[in-house]
Symmetry: C2
Subunit: 316 residues, 2 copies
């Protein structure tokens, strides 16, 4: 088994355009039925006081044309910063799809999950591309918020980035890290919505942050924080206002994405949902006055695709 | 992440009694509700002619008192022998249950799965321990058949080992590998049943091999081949004759063990099933004339327990 360290991986993460193409192809292959992804595994961890403070997701995928299948482990332990450790960690393994042999271990410490999520956000945001530059709003101030700002700004024409977080000083620190861009810290989510065409939510919130009342025609929303049944970022009523509801994977989003809450509330039904892969193939055309929501829960085939690309890049 | 090779692991697999105790404790902890095991992941692989020729199972577990949680990948690719490769492969990873960090990778090439299955078979067979030595029958001629013969013979008083396989020359080769024991190759499964008190099935069969007509009072059956919904070793009618039906995990056995076929046929119901952990705690007493069946599908907590023990032994 070839073992690859984060230090070997990192130089290859700079190829944003190449990674975005790889992830786009993965979504399209999935929408064409070329991918097998069993239901992800979720393990939850609690403190002695029964407060949820950690989770582990295991995602697997195989896909036609790929010599390997993937097993990805991603952890998020929310008390880690107090121990001077990053919240997220993880790794991706590739196994031969011909013999089952362990082939490659990418010890990426969670970075590949972060990056394939950033690429998915950029692709989802990019559905709103038009002749005029778009104003981006980001809810959340963590590592994924920063990646979304960078990846979306490189992927499409963005005129301004508004950011909002519950913790104002964290928002200010994110602004300083994003100094090359035209960044403003907003006082409220309503203010952020008024200043944005594309709104990306990146938090592990367990109650809605983005309310239907703040959404107007032309808003394009990308929600990527909810990755387990207890998490929710979007007011379910927001889906009732949407002209387009897109999902990276329809059944995963119903099971543990923001879409699931809207389905449970009877505000939309499964037939209202289009897969992101179909939208990326050109099946969905947003317009200046449409309201659209993309729910991203993260797919095993994204892990398979990015790990295969990075491994190939390292060999090259 | 500490990476441990098979060469480092192998010397520690000789401690059969210690491993059996570890696995027994794991089953009992599971029966006491101290273990969390999400549903296993299964990926199936087919040839270009749509013949199933490979599978991959991913099992995860956390348990109170364990500093790690486990992610185990086990593969079985049935065309590998033609490529001079073993059918089975795999690895176990341990992650910190406090921080989610990858801690240990045991590159055991599938051996730990084989051994923890052997230990489970020995424990299940051992429920039939009595003052008189027992006659063991093994159906199947693969690596697990050999392990069952060895582990059960060391764990309890066995007077003879009968073996049967579809391929007679493989059965003869297994006999020669088991030369220290009193081994006979049987012509038919019926002959094997007549010569055995304990019958262990170890095949990936997809149609029943052990028929109800061959089962008489006093037979104790351990079935460990079926690990996915398409596999079956036991005639479902056999369960209707059983006084005791035991399962390593009740829901897993209903989902993809031999028990599932008997449940679907309406021959037994879920309330007829006792967990192996309860039986190992002394809740079930077999007698000379009872008929009993133990269905083993393999548990994530067995992987967690054996990996933790081996790692601790290596450190010691």
């Amino acid at each position: 088994m070839r073992i690859i360290s984060l230090a070997e991986i990192e130089p290859h993460l700079a190829d944003k355009a190449g990674i975005i193409t790889t992830i786009k192809d993965a979504f399209i292959a999935h929408s064409q039925g070329q991918v097998t992804m069993p239901d992800p595994v979720q393990l939850l961890f609690e403190t002695d006081e029964n407060v949820l403070n950690g989770d582990c997701h295991v995602k697997t995928a195989k896909a036609s044309g790929f010599p390997f299948f993937s097993v990805k482990v991603a952890t998020g332990f929310y008390d880690n910063p107090a121990k001077n450790l990053p919240v997220n960690n993880g790794l991706i393994m590739l196994f031969s799809a011909e013999t089952g042999e362990p082939a490659i271990l990418l010890q990426d410490e969670g970075h590949l999950t972060m990056v394939r999520t950033a690429a998915a956000g950029a692709l989802a945001a990019g559905l709103k591309s038009s002749a005029e530059p778009q104003r981006l709003g980001i809810i959340g101030t963590g590592a994924q918020a920063e990646l979304q700002a960078r990846w979306i700004s490189e992927h499409m024409d963005i005129s301004s980035v508004s950011i909002w977080g519950r913790n104002h000083s964290k928002a200010e620190r994110l602004k300083s890290r994003l100094s090359p861009y035209n960044v403003n810290v907003m006082e409220t989510v309503s203010d952020l919505c008024a200043a944005s065409d594309i709104i990306v939510t990146t938090t592990p919130a367990t109650s809605p942050l983005l309310m239907a009342a703040d959404i107007r025609p032309g808003h394009h929303i990308v929600a990527l924080g909810a990755d387990s049944p207890g998490k929710i970022e979007l007011d379910p009523q927001l889906f009732a206002k949407a002209d387009f509801v897109l999902a990276d994977d329809i059944s995963q989003c119903i099971h543990h994405g923001d879409i699931g809450h809207a389905i449970k509330a009877g505000l939309i039904s499964e037939t209202d949902i289009t897969s992101l892969g179909k939208a990326l193939s050109g099946d969905v055309e947003l317009n200046k006055t449409s309201i659209s929501v993309v729910d991203l829960t993260g797919l095993g085939v994204q892990d398979l695709a990015i790990a295969s690309k990075i491994y190939t890049d390292i060999l090259a």
